[in-house]
Structure formats: C-alpha cells, structure tokens
Symmetry: C2
Subunit: 215 residues, 2 copies
C-alpha cells in the first residue's frame, strides 16, 4: 500500500503525524511525505519542520492520499499546480482522504461538488461555499472519499482507513500499539459540548492566528 | 513559558507532535525541539524526519521538559551525556514530563526512584526494573513529574499540563482548537479492553520492530 501525505508551508503538524503514526504500521505500507520540493518545511506555528521525502512530480500513482489542513491550505486552494496534482492523483487512488481544513483543497479541486464532507468546525461554511454538503461528523465516508473533522480527527480517520484497507483486527492491533484509549481531561472537544465562553475564546485565538499569518 | 521536547534518532513522531500541538498554543509559549545537533532527525519508522531547533548545550534553563518515547530511547538510557543533561535540566524545570517510553530515560537518570510513574503498556516491567513504581493510568502526576502512557497519551498529558500552567479555560479552548473529541472506531486502545488475539498481534509486531532495529 503506497500512501502519500502532502506537505506544504503552514501545515498543522498533528494533521500529518496522527494519520502517519497509524498508516505506516499497516503491513507492507510505505508512507511518502510529498511536497513541491524535498527537504524541511515549516508548520503553521513556525517552530516545527518536517522533511518532504518525495516531490509531487515523482508521484504519479498512489493507493491512498491523505491531505492535511493548516493555515497554509488557503494558498494551495488558489494554486493551479496543486489543484491539477490533486485532480490527477485522485484518478489513481483507492482512497482520497483529508484531515481538518485539508478538505478545502479537495473541494477547491472540484472533488466534493455535491458530496457530503466535513472539516474543522470553524471551516464548514467555507466548505459549503465550494459546493460540498457539510456534515458535523468525526469521519465522513462518501464512496472512496473520506473527510474528517479538525486536527486530532485524523487519528480516528486513519484507524477507519486501516480497517478498510487491512481488516478490523489489524486496525485494532495498531490502535493498541499507539495506546489510543483517549481520556481527554475536559468534555469540550466539539463546539456542541464546550461552554460558550470556551467556544468564543477558541474562535478568537483562531481569528488572531489567521490575521497574523496574513500580515 | 519555555518548553523543550528532546529529539533523538528513533523517536515516535506522535509522542512529540501530540504535546507540541497543544503546548505551543499556550499564551506566550515557546516550544524548542532540542537535539545533540541541529537539523533533521529520523523517527523510529525511518520515513519521517523532524528538524531540531536547538541543541542540548544551548538549553540551561527550561520551564517544561517533555521527553518522548520511541525505539531509540534505549540507546539514550546508556548515554552519559543524555543522562547528565536530563538530571541537570530537571533542577530548573517547573514540570518534567514524559510520553510513552520516554519515562525510561527519566528512570535511567534516577528521577523516578521509588516514584509512581507510567509508560507504554509493553514497557512497565522495564520501568519497574529501573526502580520506579509502575501504575496503569493514562497520566500519572507525582509532584512536578508527570508521566503518561503510550504514544497518543501525550495529548491527554499535554492538556493536563496546559490546565496546570494556564488554567482550565485556556486548556479547554486548546482542546476545542484541535477538535479533540476522540471517537476511536474500536474499543481496544488498552490491553485491558482489547481482545487477547489483538493484544498478541500488537505484542508480536512490537517485538518484530524491536528486533529489526537491533539488527
């Protein structure tokens, strides 16, 4: 199973590493971190850099594509080279997937026209404006396109993909290997359960980050 | 708040990126990825490299230390330079923490003598042989030392630290920002809940990985 995760300046690190840590454990799997050029690329906080291990041009066929999100995704949604690559590679995949705002790139490439999909809770409106049908679910399966909610949802997505690709028992053994028995200290991981003050604080922090990046 | 996460050849990527994604969001936080030398360093699967942004020598004082695990940790537990650095830096921290087998390094440095601590479920025996008192809990607080269970437990650890450092509301807003509302597809993230066949499959995969790394 050949799996590609695109890297671009301004990715969210957990969107990549959550799925990576699950998917490389699939028997016979190879995970490529693919970017426009090889070498280190910085995340959307700027303090972490991951190295690309393949270039987009090198990848013509892939079994599974997992597009991460991050503040840098919006530049890609207006970049003909990225949009063309996504459309082209999607022809060859068994599964095309996204984490968080990665779904905005799939949508901008036209893959989600009229399709049920999800994204980070703050970006569902944007997803709708691209013509997708936004749903508030952790992982959304629409044929061979899987989208998932914000950031940490990539772990749930990847375990779902692992089960689809290699069967439930293999996926379960991977879940145990990464001891994924989550015990969040608070019940506020979604805007439906978080107190209003927390939702507003989180929204304000996201707006400030977006503004800093534009500046 | 200055936070350091050590990097070494053979780290587990999610052990670093789980806490990183939470902790850099703390107001005024700076997260350093510290290694013996700057530049890209490969994980224990070998297909992902993170760049070190600081060297151990550069860090003499730090508020929070979070030691990740990975197959490479066992080399460090026999490395006088790393053991000395851990002992020295621990004098200056407000909180010294670990994810997964990172606790083996704290234990080897003598920080966990007679102290309640945890680790990946497969490594609790090793932790005990170093003189710690192993407990099966997701996050274990012992004074200013926090240890956590395998891999993904680093997210729960980091949110616990965020609340300790900046208050519950800030930690909750961060949990919402990374949409940490986990919905694992299976109930098998711990050896207590996983079917025996899955526990054995996971154990066999871990043994094979360890042997490959030794070879």
């Amino acid at each position: 199973v050949r799996i590609a995760i695109p890297l671009f300046a301004g990715f969210t690190a957990i969107d990549i590493v959550g799925p990576y840590e699950v998917l490389w454990r699939l028997p016979g799997a190879e995970v490529l971190l693919a970017a426009e050029t090889a070498g280190p690329i910085a995340d959307d906080n700027g303090a972490l850099a991951l190295s690309a291990t393949a270039t987009l041009q090198e990848i013509e066929q892939i079994d599974v594509l997992v597009v991460p999100g991050g503040l840098g995704i919006r530049r890609l949604t207006a970049d003909a080279r990225w949009l063309g690559w996504i459309r082209e590679i999607h022809h060859s995949t068994r599964i095309t997937a996204s984490v968080c705002t990665g779904s905005l790139l799939l949508a901008a490439a036209g893959l989600l026209d009229g399709v049920e999909a999800t994204s980070h809770w703050l970006s569902l409106g944007e997803l709708e404006r691209y013509g997708a049908r936004p749903v508030r679910r952790r992982v959304v399966e629409a044929g061979r396109i899987y989208t998932s909610a914000g950031a940490t949802a990539g772990i749930d997505l990847a375990l779902t993909l692992a089960a689809a690709l290699a069967g439930a028992e293999t996926a379960q053994a991977i879940q145990l290997a990464i001891e994924y028995d989550p015990q969040p200290p608070f019940r506020c991981g979604s805007p439906e359960t978080a107190p209003t003050a927390v939702v507003e604080l989180s929204r304000a922090a996201a707006t400030a980050r977006g503004a800093r990046r534009q500046a």
